[in-house]
């Protein structure tokens, strides 16, 4: 016999009322504020994309710029938008989505808002490898491939040395921090021994920029996101429960080991592929989930909202970097660092004391 609380006999029940703040969409329970946030972010992102396509050394009306994407407009529009700006915007979108997603997953996993690809050594690993390929004798691998190799190496080393995600993911964080320091030192050593021109050529891989992206790396990232984003959304149920202490999550029926590995691999994969495209673009993975959580409110883990916020941040940073001091171009990574730092401080100082992401 299974003991249950008293229940009315179920005779063809009418539609069940959703909990406060939610709506039923078929079998799916929709968090209304979360949905509004995602729709709002999509609108904002659309506007930022249009502006990014329109603004530059040649100004085009945003509507015409969007039209040019779909093949209408003057040959000049088609050239400027289609050949020059669209690939860059596309890369920015993919990189931003990947960073926002990766940060959200890592922070939730570690129950620590400081857990991001930057703090876990991934970015430093990618930078060290990419710089090595620029600085040393020409290698068979191009810098993006080396960056991806570096990110994968750093992630594999961190995972291997920490023996998986570990309790609360702390071990993973601490090992990542240590490895990151080692990789950072390697980068500095390489740059110190290189002549000034070579060091200059390696510079994009130390700050992060959308100026040197390559087609194949972007395609690979997009492919990764096609798998990673739906995976992360399917992991949503586990992610929500992972925010509780381990004993509670286990008690609720979450297979902790499998859940942690799935979340970690998705996060590391997205971050690694994005570093191969744009280098170590800082602060986005840290700040985007923070902003998304604010917009969405407590309750859900804002996977999609973080990804979209990441894309908005990245495109805005690139837009500012391209236009603020034109014709001089500032790498997007510098903009995210300069703007992101104070923004994050403001967020942290104006939010009530919070311990869990």
């Amino acid at each position: 016999m299974t003991a249950t609380l008293p229940r009315r006999p179920a005779a063809r029940p009418p539609a069940v009322a959703a909990p406060p703040g939610h709506s039923m969409l078929g079998p799916v329970l929709v968090h209304r504020r979360g949905l509004v946030t995602v729709v709002g972010l999509l609108v904002v992102l659309g506007a930022v994309v249009a502006i990014s396509l329109a603004v530059g050394s040649v100004r085009i009306d945003p509507l015409r710029a969007v039209g040019a994407v779909f093949g209408t407009g003057t040959p000049r529009d088609l050239l400027v938008v289609g050949q020059l700006r669209l690939p860059r915007v596309e890369a920015g979108l993919a990189v931003g989505i990947a960073l926002g997603l990766s940060g959200c997953l890592m922070q939730t996993l570690a129950r620590n808002r400081l857990a991001t690809p930057e703090t876990t050594g991934l970015n430093n690993g990618a930078t060290a490898f990419a710089v090595a390929s620029v600085v040393s004798v020409p290698m068979s691998l191009a810098p993006p491939a080396m960056a991806l190799t570096g990110a994968a190496t750093a992630a594999a080393l961190t995972l291997g040395l920490s023996g998986g995600a570990g309790p609360r993911g702390y071990r993973f964080l601490v090992v990542g921090l240590g490895l990151g320091a080692v990789f950072g030192a390697v980068t500095n050593l390489l740059l110190a021994r290189a002549d000034i021109d070579t060091a200059n050529a390696a510079m994009p891989w130390t700050v992060g920029t959308l100026n040197t992206t390559t087609g194949p790396a972007v395609r690979l990232l997009e492919l990764g996101l096609l798998v990673g984003l739906p995976t992360a959304m399917l992991l949503g149920r586990w992610l929500r429960a992972l925010r509780f202490p381990d004993a509670v999550a286990t008690g609720l029926g979450v297979p902790l080991g499998r859940a942690r590995i799935a979340v970690l691999l998705t996060s590391v994969g997205a971050a690694g592929l994005s570093v191969a495209v744009a280098g170590p673009l800082g602060m986005v993975a840290l700040a985007a989930p923070e902003a998304a959580r604010r917009l969405t409110g407590p309750g859900p883990v804002p996977v999609v909202a973080s990804a979209l916020t990441g894309a908005v941040f990245t495109l805005l940073a690139d837009l500012v970097g391209r236009t603020a001091f034109a014709p001089l171009e500032i790498p997007a990574g510098l903009v995210t660092a300069v703007v992101g730092g104070p923004y994050l401080l403001w967020l942290l100082l104006t939010t009530r004391t919070r311990t869990t992401p």
Binding site: L5, V16, P19, R237, P245, T250, G251, G253, P298, R354
Partner: protein, 263 residues
Amino acid sequence: MTVLQTRSLTLAHARTPVIDGLDLDLPAGQVTVIIGPNGCGKSTLLSGLARVLAPRGGSVLLDGCALATMPTREVARRVGLLPQSAVAPDGLTVRDLVRYGRHPHQGLLRQWSRADAEAVDAALAAAGVEDLAERPLDTLSGGQRQRAWIAMVVAQDTPVVLLDEPTSALDLGHQIEVLDLVRSLAARGRTVVLVLHDLSSACRVADHLVALVDGQVVAAGAPGAVVNPGLVRRLYGVESVVVPDPTHGTPVVCPVGLAARTG
């Protein structure tokens, strides 16, 4: 009724075994209270019963099936756990928290059902937190928050309920409220296992008492049959007088002082 047993169960933290070869039967549909001095392995045992801690040896059996071989979700539908000093993500309301209790009953294509809604409402009522349902957890007092957590476990609707010190941080009134709730769960046929520090509360709420010292059972049975000055001395090193409670007849322990250490 669901039967929970351990067979030569060994539980360890790192390399140190805390429980070594324990055989224990937890009576179905009754309230079992585990007592013992600090560090005797009470919480460790409860973690083992809830498969939060994997056995180093032996097994925990649920209706004769080894817990370690069952899918986590299947176990979560049959065994509910309230660990000690659990913390929730920021900003959750009481109702949000209690809804998490339905997690093992839900899936991607079954995210919210009538059974979920009814179980949540019933659990809120049973734990006496209906009026607090829409309040964020961080605005509640310790006692209110503790009852919200208990409501989460009640909403999980499991035949076995494990509670680790559910009355810590509660005042006398709320302690009695929680212990009454525990009794009412057992009255509905659930098997309840608690860890409690207070011996008199333990005697009052328990059908079955299990006393642990160094991971070994030193006494097990009805409170009236096992609680005596000898047991209290063995558990806590305290000399005491044990008298029947004037209202309930259950044993009440009146400590006299520390026992003289021998050996």
